[in-house]
Symmetry: C3
Subunit: 323 residues, 3 copies
């Protein structure tokens, strides 16, 4: 499918994936986010950039945490936010996804923030809006299936840039259940785009997808080896349903092989930072001593995430679609 | 029950039903809506008419779509909106409907938008507020049982007026499950009030209520005959639960007899418009070629629906109750 | 546990309980609420005191009514409100309560309104925020287990002061299921703090906790005796689950012994007021003739409750934490 996120002038009209996103656009998002970090610190945490705009949170898959970050970002941009739990709505009455989208667009929506269990759903929506010339509506992907979670990828980049300044001399390790992770996929694309020379992926064979070599990453099944000398460690969440599944013996066994302990962290560079998209499973993929330790930047990730979402929303809202 | 929607000066203080609503009030609503259609097109889609007012969406029956239209309408009028899913609330703790209403009114509510599975519930609420002199609260019926859905009826009239200008030379056909439809009932009252000379109802005997003749409509069981020469076709949604029920053989059979296909549409006037309250069952009551065709005005209905709801809300909020 | 609700200057930075709250602070809250009562009466019911602040309604236990009052209070203070139904959220993904709190605080929350089934949860949260120097976040207890419901206690005091002016010559009776009531506990502390000379508790032995004597209250198992000559009657709600439980024979029996009828009310002072936190069980703890009678001040309680919550929120938001 042609990537419909750029308009004919090459501007970002939807944010669907980091894959194929020009470096200049990524940097523009990070620079814009930088200006919003201070907004959240002010006494009055609002800017009028999207005043009177209608943002619809279309969560076909429940995610209170992600929905909350977009809701806050929208409100700090002064937009009106409508939360739709779509599972409980018209699609259950047999209406098709695209009929639902057309209906909401006809209410003069300005933006759909879309979370969907099916990979590609936000693409389908954006393509349909483009094809039917409903250019007033912008789509932001808030996570689709195993495919992409671009705002998480971007906030991870913002965090790395904040602490490490320069991407071009870094070694970054992504650890855990890469196979089922849309975060990992978005991070790998973003790190590559920004010129990180060495991206490592660490995990058990059963939780690593094929084709990682072609993405230009180094694969490690042994965590101690993979962590040696890295600047950044991105831990992934182990989904509950994997813990007692066929792919893994048990959560305890997993922690023994791939849990990030202070001892293992000591193998990385002394100033390495530890990231996690949350919510954490303490004692499964990460030891509390690390999660609460001085190298963890997990809560700053959350703070930066609001600013990055404000940046994405205000940028796409400002670029006319389809032209 | 005395219709409590007009105050002593004959002004609209609640909107409960179109039945008995003076033509002048209907026209005033449509004229006011007209001024709001452009608001939704603006860069900043807000007017301060209800700033600081508290609108409660009281949905005793779930309807994401209708709730969303009222929520958007409220926010574009700058009101504060509180969504209450009442099924999950105090009524489940054994509190009576009117105690719940009194409680919310005591919070200085300005408006209740009420959806209820029981016909007459919004009347009961409005009457209680009038009787207890809680005149600061206005009620808007967002659909009660099989009885009425007045804002849908009004947006249908707005749509017809937009495309046909004059009501007094029209033939309008309403097609489908009229028996269970509050939309059909509201439309028939509105069309009659506005002077439409011929209103037709088309459907199988099992889905048509008694007493249609007394309402001044012509009844057709054969769709081809009923569609001949009409200016406006209002398709009704076939509820899922009817599709395999005792009243109908099957959805396929229904489509064969009452589905709107391009061939059938050709029996109407060449410039006939096709309306549907949504959500559509494509291939059941309507063919996709018609739903997406040039005569369909189904998405404009949605757009006008926001403006009509803004009109209704701002009008009733401006008329003091009970005096 | 040290009470963490006051900062080092003795100012209210969180509202967790009325127990131990200085009389001056209680009076300051009531005086501030008094100025907000008129706000809800205005055409535009908003003041800009918390404009741009982010208030999170963290309801770990469902309570539509209480959440609604805080949502309205927040919006009338011009704050942005985020409603989180936490049961459906990350805690169900195995994240700990305090990780959830840290995450939300990292989004630059200004206030958590917390409802939790576990006694002490809001304390735990406030203590954690203090300990980790997240002083920008304020906690308001919206009801925790059987422990406290301080804003209900304060609105009860506001109501009594409104009708009786002076606390120091009153006899107040609290009637019903005191054992399971956080409202009763908060009321007893507040009444004592404000100098009410006689607080009575009336109920069956099975629904009265031990230790009431030490709290300085007089205990009555006979309702007629307990009501004699009182100025204020606070009825408690009988929870549905008690009605057919081991502690009580039946709802009918309960009404016979402890239901407030007009006859029983006549035993109190002629100008006695009747209060109830809602939702009422008519015919169980209270007769409709009393609930709707001239001595009931149950709906004014609701109105005052919005003003009291606005007062509490604006006061704690204005006091810097931890310093």
């Amino acid at each position: 499918m042609h990537n419909p996120q750029l308009n004919k002038h090459g501007e970002l009209q939807h944010l669907l994936t980091i894959d194929g996103l020009p470096k200049a656009i990524v940097n523009h998002i990070l620079d814009t986010a930088s200006s919003f970090v201070s907004v959240s610190d002010r006494e009055v945490k609002k800017v009028p950039l999207m005043r009177g705009k209608s943002v619809f949170n279309l969560f076909f898959e429940n995610s209170t945490r992600t929905r909350t970050t977009f809701e806050i970002a929208s409100k700090r941009l002064s937009a009106d936010v409508i939360n739709l739990n779509i599972a409980a709505s018209s699609t259950s009455k047999g209406e098709s996804l695209l009929d639902t989208i057309d209906n909401l667009a006809a209410m003069h929506a300005d933006m759909f923030v879309v979370r969907h269990a099916t990979s590609g759903a936000p693409f389908l929506i954006a393509k349909h809006l483009n094809d039917t010339k409903q250019h007033h509506v912008h789509v932001v992907n808030a996570g689709d299936g195993r495919h992409a979670h671009p705002t998480q990828g971007l906030l991870d980049m913002y965090t790395i840039r904040h602490y490490k300044k320069d991407f071009t001399n870094l070694t970054v390790a992504i650890v855990g259940d890469v196979l089922h992770s849309r975060v990992a996929r978005s991070d790998i694309h973003a790190l590559t785009t920004l010129g990180v020379p060495e991206v490592r992926v660490i995990g058990p064979r059963t939780l690593l997808p094929g084709g990682l070599d072609q993405m230009g990453v180094r694969v490690f099944n042994n965590m101690d080896e993979g962590l040696k000398g890295v600047d950044v460690i991105i831990m992934l969440r182990l989904q509950n349903e994997r813990m007692s599944g066929a792919l893994l013996p048990s959560a305890q066994e997993y922690f023994k092989s791939y849990g990030l302990t202070p001892e293992r962290l000591a193998l990385a560079k002394p100033d390495a930072i530890v990231m996690h998209p949350g919510p954490m499973n303490r004692g499964v993929e990460i030891d509390s001593a690390v999660a609460d330790g001085p190298q963890a930047v997990i809560l700053p990730q959350v703070t930066f995430g609001i600013a990055v979402r404000m940046a994405v929303m205000s940028i796409v809202a400002g670029n006319s679609g389809g032209v």
